[in-house]
Every structure is written in C-alpha cells, then in structure tokens.
Symmetry: C2
Subunit: 351 residues, 2 copies
C-alpha cells in the first residue's frame, strides 16, 4: 500500500463541489431529525411541527470581497443577505442569524460598528434576529461567517432534487448584473492603483454596482408564490451562476433541460455594459453568479397563475435526463450547458 | 458633532465581551421564536415542542491553534467538540453541526481529509450529524467556523443568569490542564525552532497534551444530572477560564460567590507541571481556559443526590450580590476574582 501522506492532490483539481464530495462521503447521518444534510441550499431539520432550515456561508477578504471598493456597511448587509437567500431557496422564512468575525488588528471598533450596522439593516429589512456569533482575531484579513436559521411548513419545503419532466424553469429578476458590477469596480481599482489622481468612473451604473455590493434576497418571490398558491417543484438561488445552479437542479433531479437564450432576463444596463466590455451578455448571465435570484421549476399548469407578474421569467423546459442540459441559442443552435460559475476555490490556485 | 470616522478605538481596549456589547446593543429581536439571543452559551429558539439551541465558534490559525504541533485530525475533532460543549452547557443534546473552512493553497486535499476525519470522529463520538458548511479560499491561514444545533426540553434549559443565593457552585473534571498542555507544546516549539535536531520532550504528559489537543465535551455530566433528577440552576462551559466563566454566571445572575481554592479540582499531572513551570496551579485553573468542563450551580438539597459521584466537585457557594465574587485562598484570605481568562481578541494587539 502506498502511504497516503506521500500524495498531494491540489484542491483546485477537484473544485468546490468535488472537494465537498470527497470530504463528506464518509459521514453517515444518525439522527432522525436530520431530514436533509449536505447538498441543498440549506440543511433541513425536523423540529416537530415544522422543519428548521440551517445554512452557512463564509466570506473571506481578498476572495469574496475587496475592501478597496466594498464599504463595510454593504459587506455586513451582503454577508447576511446571501444566507437569507439560501433559506428562501428552500421556500422558507429566515428567523435568526449568527455572525462570526475574524479580524486583523487593522480594524478599529468604529470599522466593526459600520459592518454591524449593515448586519443590523439586513436583519431589519428581512425581519431576522441576530442571536449569536463569535469574534476572534485573524493574523491577516477579515473573515465573516454567517449562519441563518429559518423555518418552513413540512409540506412546503422545496429541494433541488424534485424537478420533473414537463416542468417549466423560471427565474426571478435579471441575471449577470452582479458580475458586471464587479467588473466595473475591478476596472476602477486597477486604474486607481496605477494612478490615484484619476477619479473613478463608474459610468453612472448604480444598478449594476448595487447588484454587486448590496444584493437583495428574493423574499418577495417566495411570498408571491405562496400567495398565488404555487409550490415550486424545485428551487435554488443563483449564487454561482445560472449554468452551475441549473446543473445542480438537473443533476440532483435526474432530469435534462432546454434553456432558451432569448428568454434569459438581462437588464438593459447589464446588456449595454457587457457589450462595452466586449462580453457576451448571455455568458455573464450564465456564469456571472452572485445575482441571488431564485431559480425554480413549476408545473406547467401553474403558469397562468403568474400571468400578470412581471418580475420573473420562464426560461426553459425540464426534459428527460437523456436529452441533457442544453441552451438553445438565439441563432437556433443547441449548446451544452457547463458549470463555469464562480467557484471560490478556483482562486486558490491563483494566489 | 464630531465625525465618528475621525475616531479610532482599538479593539484591544474593549476586549471580546466589551466589543460584543458595543456591536450588538442596537439590535432588537422581533421574532417570537427568539427566546434567548446573544449572551449565553447558545441561542435558544422556540421551534414548537422543544427549544432548538444554536451556537457557533470560529477558530483561526495562529490565534486558536498552531499547526506546528496541532495535528489536523485533532483540530477537526476539537473544532466540533468546543461547539458541542456549548450545547451541553445549555443542558441540551447536540444533533447537527455545520463546518465551514477557509483554506490557503498550502493545504492539499489529503490534509483536508485528515481534518474532516477528525470532524467525523467527533460526530460519531457525540452522535451528531454533519449537515452543511461552506468551503472557501483564504489568502493566508486556515479558518474553521463550526455551528452546532441541538435541542432541549423547554423546562430543562439552563441559562447563565439563573443562579440563586444559597446554591452550590460545582464543576466537572479538573481545571488548568489544557493550559499547561499548551505551555508544554509552546516550549517544545520554541526549542525546535532554535534547534531542529533536539527531540521534543513532552515529559510523558499525555494527559495534559490531550487536554489541549483533544478536549472532550461533558455529555456524560449532562446525562448524569438528568439521571439523578438534578436540574442545574445555571450552567456554563469553562472555555475562557474558571474566573471569567464564573463571572459570567454571577454578573448575569446578579449574585456573588465564595470560591474555595482548596476545592478547585486540579489533576496531579497539572499540579506537578505547574510547579515545574513555576506557575501557581490555582492560577492555571482560574485563568487557563479551554478545559471545556461544565461549571454549574445546584440547589443545596440536590447535593446528596451526587454523593457517590466522583467526577465533579463542589467549589463554592452562591451568595448575595453585595458580597462580590471572591476566592477564599488556602491561606484563609479573600481575593477578588477577576476575569483573566483567555481572550482571543487580546492577541490582536500582540500581532
């Protein structure tokens, strides 16, 4: 037998989802209350009358955010919102969050107050209570680890794994904006680093910048669906990019999909900015990530219930697994959809 | 009015608990299910028939652990156990954990497998399920953020704030060992750095080293108390040191305490090693921290129910608030008990 310690497999070879698989495949769940463990937007725990949902996200300076252009208040807000988004993606209602920080000595109390003001605003906006956390030092960099706790009626929980052939694929809002906002901020940062005298030119793109720095979770969509009496057959939030997140639904549901490029919602601002950057707007929507929209499937017959609703789009059809996950381009060609979404681990190899 | 941004207050001026107070005092809880938010070992959430407990701890490389002498498997184990300890300190039963990592590129997949093997062993040992997490990059250093979820009968939850005059103060196991184990490891690290040829001399102190590198949570004490029909009037786990954690109980319960030095449990190994290091064994117990024993108060009349139990000690009496929190030394003198426990934020100023 070879000594395992002699081997060194780079994490970048596996990617985030491959790594999670390797690390968690030896775990067995033994508590009856554990309904769903790793593999969805949130864990599902049976706490009696309802299910309790738990999700956690860790944001690291230099990987997920850059303090050169990300104000601490926005960062605090976003760190909570991205977790609430995961609770909504289970069709749940978030109720509590914990916020843990690791901070280097460069941060003052006043800086942390700014960050917590953002946390507080998010809590207020989404009716969520801060119930705990941990505050520690970091040798270098700022780390924020947030856990959100929510609840959902047992017959209303929506998983990634339950889309069925014939369902319609829908998405809320528009896609690609957060990525384009990031490109604008990164460009201005580069210019500033080269010449600090140059004033930043964000081209009046408040919408795209806002999508990146202060995303919102789609509480309203979950409420709308409930109000219209629609229970999505599956749901996920678009955090890694439409391609990657759609593939999660399809792989876990064992189905294929026809995604229609012409129907993918892209804002006018996003469209224009993509072209200015010489980027394909559709590629930004597919691979950009961080839009925190909800991607969900509904039964065909539910479509009419949403007829007059403007802030969501039907963008595809769920088909047989054998038909694969494909994009029908505006030009009428079929392309494979591949996961090229944002992978926080990919940056490891770039450092 | 002065511009707040002009001020810079160093975090080290406030300490961890002062900082938490400043950061959280503007938060208001609005959900009826939030029974207890910040300020105890775990948050308490009303989920119907029972309370759900949630606690989270973040461990940072170079602050909480040193990979020069902390094997990754032990680290994974400890990162889970310290959270479970907080659930037990609420008289609860842990059921689930989430584990988030931020990792720099120096870690291989094999190294992370080691870490997760420790996580798995802790889950197995304490009948807990891994239900989620997040895996991300870090520009520098390893960060582990664990959240534990547990449950407790509504009439059995034990807070820090409910000790009453006349109660007896008890602690499980012995104290100071984890700190002395750390001193041994730190000494050998210094020697190694000076001369890598010298073999480490851990003086056969497996017990103390084990207390530091592989602590256990006192599941057995929670079970014992239940079995004997004892509901502690208050409880906390000893993570920051006996002084600091006793002060949490006394301050939050609005009571004083007489702590008897002669009754503070210290292992023979701990006692001997402290003297070798020219340290006062009592000071190690009071300020060392990381022992993860349970510190709790019981009604006087419950003492007889524990008569034949060996692994806990009665170490003090809860008295009127006005009498203060004092240590009666072996020499018969009264000393103020002050919080000098381990404060992860104090290291900020040392970096």
């Amino acid at each position: 037998m070879t000594d395992q310690k002699q081997h060194r497999t780079e994490i970048s070879r596996l990617g985030e989802f491959g790594l999670i698989k390797v690390l968690t495949n030896r775990f067995k769940n033994i508590n009856a209350s554990t309904i769903k463990a790793v593999g969805d937007d949130a864990a599902v725990i049976d706490t009696g009358n309802k299910y309790t949902l738990v999700t956690t996200d860790l944001m690291a300076e230099g990987i997920h955010f850059d303090l050169m252009y990300c104000p601490l208040k926005h960062l605090g807000y976003k760190s909570v919102v991205v977790n609430l988004s995961d609770i909504y993606a289970m069709n749940g209602i978030p109720r509590q969050v914990t916020v843990s920080l690791a901070i280097s000595s460069k941060f003052s109390v006043e800086a942390l107050e700014e960050l917590y003001e953002g946390v507080r605003l998010a809590c207020e906006q989404y009716n969520v209570d801060l119930v705990g956390g941990d505050t520690s030092s970091s040798v270098k960099g700022l780390f924020i680890s947030v856990t959100a706790i929510g609840e959902v009626d047992k017959d209303k929980v929506t998983y990634r794994s339950t889309a069925r052939e014939g369902d319609l694929l829908c998405v809320s809002g528009d896609l690609g904006g957060a990525y384009l906002g990031l490109q604008l901020l990164e460009r201005e940062k580069r210019i500033f680093l080269e010449n600090p005298q140059v004033q930043p030119d964000l081209e009046n793109q408040q919408y795209l910048i806002g999508r990146q720095l202060k995303p919102e979770a789609r509480k309203d969509i979950v409420e709308l669906l409930a109000e219209k009496g629609i229970l999505p057959t599956s749901m996920i939030d678009v955090s890694d990019g439409l391609s990657s997140d759609l593939l999660h639904i399809c792989t876990q549901s064992n189905v294929g999909c026809r995604l229609y490029e012409a129907d993918i919602p892209i804002s006018q601002e996003g469209n224009e900015q993509a072209l200015k950057f010489n980027l394909d707007p559709t590629a930004c929507a597919l691979s950009g990530g961080e839009d925190y929209e909800l991607l969900f499937t509904i039964k065909k017959e539910d479509r009419k219930k949403l007829e007059n609703e403007w802030d969501f789009s039907v963008i595809g059809d769920i088909v047989k697994n054998e038909m694969g996950v494909k994009l029908l381009s505006k030009g009428g060609k079929l392309h494979d959809v591949t996961a090229q979404g944002w992978d926080a681990l990919r940056k490891v190899s770039e450092l």
